[in-house]
């Protein structure tokens, strides 16, 4: 049966809560209300207020408290109401959660669910894609699924991982994408990219909502005989360079696509690694398609102009294919 991306997240949470009584959730309005996006609807009734905790409006305390519970071996799953507000808990994430294991050898099995991304007309404070900040911080793992199956499998893997994992769930995908998920424990391993579409002309390395857009670009370019390979990173930290390099070795052409701003985005790092490690395979410059260096704009016209999409990706991919 096909389910939505949101439903896949819900199922993963439900099954993990059911499986392991050390898993519990904290966040704002996740209980009675079922979460701003209704991801946790019905959880309070099933698991009770001790495991589905509505907190005060205190991101730093929420993350800090989750770290504390994780230190005691519990498996907290924090919901940020919007990923944008993770800025308010930034210090706890980068200074406390990320460094604990390196410093003291103490695991912090914590998941922070970060509903991120745009395309929902929600402006500068409810659309940001902040993953690059955390990519720079050793000790964190980052995942960003693009399909219901990956959403479910990665969330389960994240909850079982002994490290702090930020789980970037894309708000636009919540109800805009459907797909099959396997029954039961179909874990998607953290650290493994997946080729979502094999191709021979250009490697498009991407993640999150841009996977669909890249697949769309591939469709557009098919009639022109340009055959895109779409590599879905799925995990951003640690990066699966093996899969990336294999793809680029095959196609000789690489572009990186993400929704976050290009400047300082993860794409820079991937391109830089390719420029170093794949220099011999590359027949063309490495291109990046990403948002410009501006805050995320509100008005639909500006938002459309801001966000990468299938057309913009196709344009650059064509340029690259014809290089």
């Amino acid at each position: 049966m096909e389910i939505t991306y949101l439903e896949a997240i819900r199922q993963a949470l439900w099954e993990e809560m059911d499986r392991d009584d050390q898993v519990f959730m904290l966040g704002q309005d996740i209980g009675v209300y079922g979460g701003a996006f209704k991801v946790t609807k019905g959880f309070l009734e099933k698991f009770g207020p001790e495991r589905v905790i509505d907190t005060p409006l205190s991101e730093s305390a929420i993350v800090g408290a989750a770290i504390g519970a994780a230190l005691m071996g519990m498996r907290p799953v924090v919901e940020m109401q919007f990923a944008d507000f993770i800025s308010c808990a930034f210090d706890q994430v980068v200074n406390m959660a990320a460094k604990q294991h390196y410093r003291l050898g103490e695991p912090v099995p914590l998941v922070i669910r970060a509903p991120y991304g745009g395309g929902i007309h929600a402006g500068p404070y409810h659309s940001q894609s902040p993953e690059a900040w955390f990519f720079h911080v050793a000790g964190l793992k980052l995942v960003a699924p693009s399909t219901p199956r990956d959403a479910k499998g990665l969330l389960k893997a994240a909850i079982r991982d002994p490290n702090p994992v930020i789980y970037f769930e894309h708000k636009y995908l919540y109800r805009h994408i459907k797909g099959e998920v396997a029954d039961g424990d179909d874990l998607v391993p953290i650290g493994k990219a997946e080729v979502k579409r094999p191709g021979s002309s250009v490697s498009v390395i991407t993640y999150g909502a841009m996977v669909q857009q890249s697949l769309g670009a591939a469709e557009k370019l098919m009639p022109e005989g340009i055959d895109l390979e779409v590599v879905d990173l799925r995990t951003l930290q640690p990066l699966d360079m093996t899969t990336i390099l294999a793809s680029v070795e095959k196609t000789g052409r690489a572009m990186v696509v993400h929704e976050a701003p290009k400047t300082g985005g993860i794409g820079g790092d991937i391109a830089a690694r390719l420029a170093e490690e794949a220099f011999h395979y590359l027949d063309a410059p490495i291109l990046r398609v990403a948002a410009p260096h501006t805050p995320f704009p509100f008005s639909p016209v500006l938002e459309a102009s801001y966000l990468p999409n299938a057309d913009k990706i196709a344009l650059k991919a064509r340029e690259l294919a014809n290089f």
Binding site: H121, P124, F298, S299, L302
Partner: protein
């Protein structure tokens, strides 16, 4: 109602702004239901007296740091209904020229610090505006608004403490409307009055009937006068009720019906209208005249906003930096 020395003309002005606030927000709510609004809609119905009463207590060159239910104060500071509606429609004529949406606007030249989403973020900023007044020996005051929920954030604490230590000319004004999104007070704090938090900072804390516009005005006037004379900040809490959902997508089914019924009887506009009639400042003729003027102003604003152009995609990159 403590009318102090408020003249009839001023009283009518207050009445006008209360009604204008409600009328505008109702209109936006209707537009929302018709799908003519971009993004979410935040309504202050039932708690307009806090914003309007507070702003009525200020001098022309005082500054406000509004939160998301302070349309009344913004209007009194000179933000126009046209600007307000254009903002909601994501138009170029809004105060953010479509770069931001709904209640995220302001204009420092008119004494309105632009509101942003992360709750309580404006409180330290407001303290800084007050600091500028203090350093420049200007006898101006900042009124900074926030909700009960926002008072759980670290920035609330840091700002109030800083303002108290530095004796800054601030009035911190809380809409205690019983809920933060779906979260009732008792899950946000273990105290009865947000005003009790003042004790942690050594500043006066005052609780008033937030649905009595003159009580609010009077409490804020007293606090502002103390602040203006170098007596430092005050925390004023207005008890009120959020009479609608958190935003217009939220049916607030988690709010007990009896609560809304009780509070409806205390509607601040009804009460103030009755008071004005009792004092023979308002009668049917004046009320009709005001209503007519209001609907004209509101419909003109809607027409203006709908006729206004969207920003152009090509402007996306402009204005990131000041030059």
């Amino acid at each position: 109602m403590p009318a102090d020395n408020v003249t009839p003309i001023e009283l009518l002005k207050i009445y006008y702004y209360l009604k204008l606030t409600r009328g505008l927000e109702q209109r936006v709510s209707t537009l929302y239901r018709q799908g003519r609004i971009v993004g979410g809609v935040y309504i202050s119905a039932g708690e307009e007296a806090i914003a309007v009463g507070s702003a009525a207590a200020l001098e022309a060159d005082d500054v406000i740091a509004p939160s998301h239910r302070d349309l009344g104060a913004n209007l009194m500071k000179g933000i126009t209904p046209k600007e307000y509606l254009a903002q909601y429609l994501g138009k170029q004529t809004g105060l953010t020229r479509g770069r931001d949406g709904n209640v995220h606007y302001g204009d420092i030249t008119r004494g309105v610090i632009g509101f942003i989403s992360p709750m309580a973020d404006l409180l330290p900023v407001a303290a800084g505006v007050g600091l500028a007044f203090k350093l420049r020996r200007e006898r101006r005051v900042v009124a900074a608004f926030f909700g009960d929920g926002a008072s759980s954030r670290g920035d609330f604490h840091e700002a109030l403490n800083l303002a108290a230590v530095m004796k800054l000319p601030l009035v911190f004004i809380c809409h205690n409307n019983q809920y933060a999104y779906s979260t009732p007070l008792e899950r946000q704090m273990a105290i009865e009055h947000v005003a009790d938090r003042a004790k942690a900072y050594g500043m006066p804390g005052v609780t008033v009937d937030g649905n009595d516009v003159l009580a609010v005005r009077s409490a804020v006037a007293e606090a502002a006068s103390r602040a203006r004379q170098g007596g430092g900040p005050t925390l004023v809490e207005g008890k009120t009720m959020r009479m609608r959902g958190h935003a217009e997508h939220d049916d607030a089914s988690y709010v007990p019906a009896w609560m809304l019924e009780e509070w409806r009887k205390l509607d601040p506009i009804d009460r103030f209208g009755a008071y004005l009639r009792e004092r023979q400042i308002l009668d049917d003729a004046i009320a009709r005249e005001i209503d007519d003027r209001l609907s004209k102003e509101i419909e003109e604003a809607v027409a203006f906003a709908e006729a206004s152009p969207f920003p152009e995609g090509k402007d996306l990159l402009e204005g990131v930096y000041a030059s």
